[in-house]
């Protein structure tokens, strides 16, 4: 067996990683209100309860609106920043890029709290819109990381060849650059969507009276009765994440195949 003890260790590690998540479907279909062994019978009533929960549906709707908007905005901002940083030299580049990427190393609560202060000072009402502002801040660095590597792998002479053959800046971008970074753009959209959908702390601080899905889930934690329903919801969310990520991975690999580049294994 290749790898020997390493492989055993790695498999055990994977098991440890997935163990809690396996519990989700286990207890989501379990016919009991307490999450404990031994298991009672099979039941889908917790999933049924999800269908009958207006506050939940509102929270889901809000979260989707926020996630889609965040994905589009973050990706757009990231395209600019990634293109600028890989293609041009300009003064202040390191500083600006450092600032833009800062959310990667800042605890989210700091971002949430500082944004809250500014918004209150200006007098902006907290709502879905303010949550979007915060989410775009934290998602953009991830998108830049993905798109930078996509732009990096673009041979500069491809652009020059397009000019040489008569194209303009804009048509070169449309015909050559965009198709070749499209896999990166799709990955970026999916990843920022996923991050935003799941993001709690910024939404917690900046949503005001509105709810998002994580905020709603958090508010349910103190009700023991709600626990199995949360398990059902969690199962759905995890499945959704896995599906989205598989799509992202599929596009990533297809993009590599189309441009004939090497697979370095992973998004970042």
């Amino acid at each position: 067996m290749r790898g020997g003890w390493f492989k055993v260790y790695a498999l055990a590690y994977l098991l440890f990683l997935y163990a809690p998540i396996i519990l989700l479907p286990l207890f989501a279909f379990n016919d009991a209100t307490v999450i404990a062994f031994p298991l009672s019978g099979f039941s889908t009533k917790w999933f049924a309860a999800l269908a009958d929960d207006p506050p939940l549906h509102l929270a889901v709707k809000n979260s989707l609106i926020i996630a889609v908007t965040t994905a589009i905005l973050s990706t757009a901002l990231a395209v600019f920043a990634a293109r600028a940083s890989t293609r041009y030299r300009f003064p202040g580049k390191a500083g600006l890029m450092g600032l833009i990427m800062l959310p990667l190393v800042l605890p989210e609560i700091i971002v949430a709290v500082s944004l809250l202060s500014v918004l209150l000072m200006i007098g902006v009402k907290l709502s879905i819109f303010t949550v979007i502002l915060g989410h775009v801040l934290v998602c953009t660095p991830f998108c830049i990381a993905i798109l930078s590597s996509a732009f990096q792998s673009l041979d500069r002479s491809l652009e020059e060849a397009a000019y040489d053959l008569g194209e303009t800046s804009f048509s070169t971008f449309r015909l050559i650059i965009l198709p070749l970074v499209m896999p990166g753009i799709i990955s970026s959209l999916l990843i920022s969507f996923t991050i935003s959908l799941d993001e709690f702390i910024i939404a917690f601080f900046l949503a005001g009276t509105e709810t998002t899905l994580p905020v709603y889930i958090f508010s349910q934690f103190r009700f023991p009765k709600a626990v199995p329903v949360i398990m059902a919801l969690g199962t759905i969310l995890v499945c959704l994440s896995i599906v989205l990520l598989s799509i992202a991975e599929f596009f990533r690999r297809r993009g590599l195949a189309r441009s004939g580049a090497k697979d370095t294994g992973g998004f970042l």
């Binding site: 390493f6 809690p20 920043a81 700091i110 500082s114 202060s117 953009t140 799941d198 969310l237 294994g265």
Partner: protein, 296 residues
């Protein structure tokens, strides 16, 4: 003497093009990140009034943040938790990264990485909640152990304390730790390792003298990627920390949302960031010395 053709103008404006291209994102970050951060820094020096913030300059918030027994305890605890979680996660992650880089067929590496990172992309809130459920009084561990007859009474000590926080955070940040180390290991030129062995070294010595030093940048990145968000984590201590597991983020949230004391909350936030920066810099400095040592 410069020729002023169209091309000349284009060439001179690379800087202008670059700045123009990055401006949307940069402006966004300046307005919504730099300015707010500056604001809370300013707030930390102001005083809390009844309904508003009084603009008198004072160090009182910082004095309060650093001398108050409770806040100090929480700060030290946060540091302890973050350092423990970082140490545990990075140490446990390294063998996995090594395995995937060196012992997995290149065609399957993507698959392994994909499997490892999936948990990271699922809902963090749900994952923390699962640990609460697992470690709870009537939870999975207890009911399982009782069902197997190993214990007769539920264990109380596994939940709502620092230990629970550490376990939960280590689990949550595990995938975070693997990736930077993996990337660094992948970059190592395999022929360097073969050269080491060709010169007579054992595999273990090659690892110590060649692989490990070359992987250090990845390990450093991994440490910082785990340490910094961990110390500022809110959800985990809130759900599984109990009264003795509270960390800095919970304090900050308290000041901002419950007690409406923005200046004090800001002071705590700034102090926390300061400590994080200092620890990170110390770590980076120690590593620079290590990397320049003999045998590197």
């Amino acid at each position: 003497m410069k020729s002023d053709g169209v091309l000349q103008r284009l060439g001179r404006s690379e800087a202008a093009s670059g700045l123009a291209m990055i401006s949307p994102t940069a402006v966004y970050a300046i307005l919504l990140l730099a300015a707010p951060l500056a604001l809370i820094f300013v707030y930390s020096f102001l005083t809390d009034g009844y309904l508003e913030i009084i603009r008198t300059f004072t160090f009182a918030n910082y004095i309060e943040a650093w001398t108050n027994e409770l806040y100090r305890v929480v700060m030290i605890r946060s540091l302890f938790v973050a350092l423990t979680v970082t140490a545990v996660t990075v140490l446990l992650a390294f063998p996995v990264a090594y395995f995937v880089s060196f012992h997995v067929d290149p065609s399957r590496k993507s698959l392994w990485l994909f499997l490892i990172t999936i948990p990271f992309w699922t809902s963090y809130l749900i994952r923390v909640f699962l640990w609460k459920v697992i470690l709870g009084y009537n939870g999975v561990v207890n009911s399982g152990l009782m069902g197997l007859g190993i214990i007769s009474e539920p264990l109380q000590w596994i939940n709502y304390n620092v230990g629970a926080v550490v376990v939960t955070l280590a689990h949550a940040y595990a995938p975070f730790a693997i990736l930077p180390i993996f990337v660094a290991l992948e970059k190592i030129d395999r022929s360097l390792l073969e050269a080491g062995q060709d010169l007579g070294e054992s595999r273990f010595m090659t690892f110590l003298r060649v692989t490990l030093p070359l992987a250090m940048p990845g390990v450093i990145a991994s440490v910082l990627i785990v340490f910094i968000p961990t110390i500022g984590d809110f959800v985990t201590p809130q759900l599984v920390g109990g009264p003795e597991g509270r960390m800095v983020a919970n304090l900050i949230q308290l000041q901002y949302m419950k007690l409406d004391n923005y200046p004090l909350g800001s002071a705590i936030a700034v102090s926390a960031m300061l400590i994080v920066t200092v620890v990170s810099l110390v770590f980076l400095y120690l590593n620079r010395r290590y990397l320049r040592g003999p045998g590197a």
